[in-house]
Amino acid sequence: MENRLETSLSGIRLNNPVIPASGTFGFGREMTAWYDIDCLGAISIKGTTPEPRYGNPQPRIAECGNYGMLNAVGLQNPGVKVVVDNEIPQLSQVFHQPIIANISGFSIDDYVFAARQMDQTDGVAIIEVNISCPNVHNGGMAFGTQPQAAAQVTQAVKAVTHKPIYIKLSPNVTDITQIARACQDAGADGLCLINTILGMRIDIARRQPVLANRYGGYSGPGIFPVAVRMVNQVARSCQLPIIGCGGVSRAEDVIEMMMAGATAVEIGAQNLVNPLACKQIIEDLPKVMDRLHIHNIKDIIACVNE
């Protein structure tokens, strides 16, 4: 039977375009308590670095009213060995859709090391290279804010891998299309955007930053228009497939993000406040598509650019 929600990333078929974003879904296994995660298009698992990391000091979460939240988790993860040996095999037992391995690092060598491990791991379909974490110093976002550095990471990772490489871009730049084109020219297979927007909250009673890290990444419904704009800008200046991400909280947002130019869509902060968000969005999509006279979801990708 025809699947109206089907989409594909670099030849990898997804039953639907809905993907929980890295950092908002753990390593997937934790979410099986809420629903059968096999309904998801794919899962982007928690960002992984070569060595285990605790991350930043507490507090590392702050609220932004109705609009979203700040996080300064700082890439807490058990290290690539544990992820490859334990987390991915355990996830593979309960999840039979593509797994997107999100990797991060503090040097080109870090990215190369983590990418090589993920490339050799069964179950990993796509490697998502995070060059946009705003919460770590001397790394992460530093690679995502200069076209040349972004190209270097892309090229180095491509040289040691066979699986599709998607570069996760930072919105904290003057012109995201420059970074996107640099990644494309360096051989990236796709792009994922946007990561969180650097933000700050102040406890006005204590006259202190809320976050111990002072600044953190802003996510949630408030960043959705920024994400749609950037996805559209990149779609108009690049040929690569795009995973759209940023503030998506309902089926209509998925449609909008795809119309802007995304081939698939990641859901982030919404998972934290509604653990059933992705499942509900997938269930709502056909109804919203009917209302909007969309037959196949693939038909709307980048339709605003036509």
Partner: protein, 244 residues
């Protein structure tokens, strides 16, 4: 863990800035005292994690202090309002190692989850000693309810306006088999340094999700990083370091 709707049946002030709310709904997911719920509030993105004070088959009680926007909103919620709640979160207290004379130590708004614990200890035939610390007599909560359960209650206040003057850590009895604590971090740190028997301590943290996926509330423990919302909020004293 489950997401469910509760109806507010009571929401009343019980001390200075402290409110008690009763909610009717399915409590099947709550399996141990010391677990918490995460409340969705209109106009606020993140849910608010609040410890369960006590529960029955179809009713749950939470006791909370108004400290910010979320709890201020909660204090204005009227009877009959329906709330979206993630319930049965966290591990809760393990009553099995309590021994013959468990000691319950609560500080301020950390007292409420100990009431549900005291009730379950009483149901298993134990006679808990309860030590409660507050700043002043206007802050004292639930002391009479512990007494009604049949617990021996000692109150300590900083200004001496109720019970003995001083901190709970000044009033630790010589004899107890095991302890259960919930309260501010300085109190928990002092207990970790001072207590001679083992115990369990419940921590508080700023949370993103409340169910273990965002890593927002992680603390360092003797056994590596642990999530307050998932591996906790209750930790054994042997798991914690005094620099929590």
């Amino acid at each position: 863990m489950t997401q469910t709707q509760y109806i507010v049946t009571c929401n009343e002030q019980i001390a200075s800035g402290i409110w008690s709310m009763r909610l009717r709904g399915n409590t099947a997911a709550i399996t141990a005292p010391g677990q918490f719920v995460n409340l969705q509030l209109p106009g606020l993105f993140l849910r608010r994690p609040i410890s369960v004070c006590d529960w029955s088959e179809d009713e749950m009680r939470i006791v909370y202090k108004v400290v910010g926007e979320g709890t201020r909103y909660m204090s204005r919620i009227e009877v009959g309002v329906s709330m979206n709640v993630l319930t049965g979160l966290g591990n809760g207290y393990d009553i099995r190692p309590c021994g013959d004379s468990p000691l319950l130590i609560g500080g301020g708004v950390g007292v409420p989850p100990l009431l549900g614990l005291a009730k379950r200890l009483r149901m298993s035939g134990k006679a808990p000693q309860v030590l409660l610390g507050f700043n002043s007599d206007k802050d004292v909560i639930l002391a009479d309810e512990f007494t009604r359960l049949g617990c021996t209650v000692q109150v300590a206040t900083m200004d001496g306006s109720c019970g003995i003057r001083g901190l709970v850590t000044d009033a630790i009895p010589d004899h107890y088999s095991y302890y259960y604590a919930c309260g501010p971090l300085p109190m928990l740190r002092a207990l970790l340094a001072q207590m001679t028997q083992d115990g369990q301590l419940s921590l508080e943290a700023r949370m993103g999700c409340g169910f273990g996926v965002c890593m927002g509330c992680t603390i360092q423990t003797q056994y590596g990083p642990q999530r307050v919302c998932k591996e906790g909020p209750v930790f054994r004293n042997t798991e914690l370091t005094t620099d929590i």
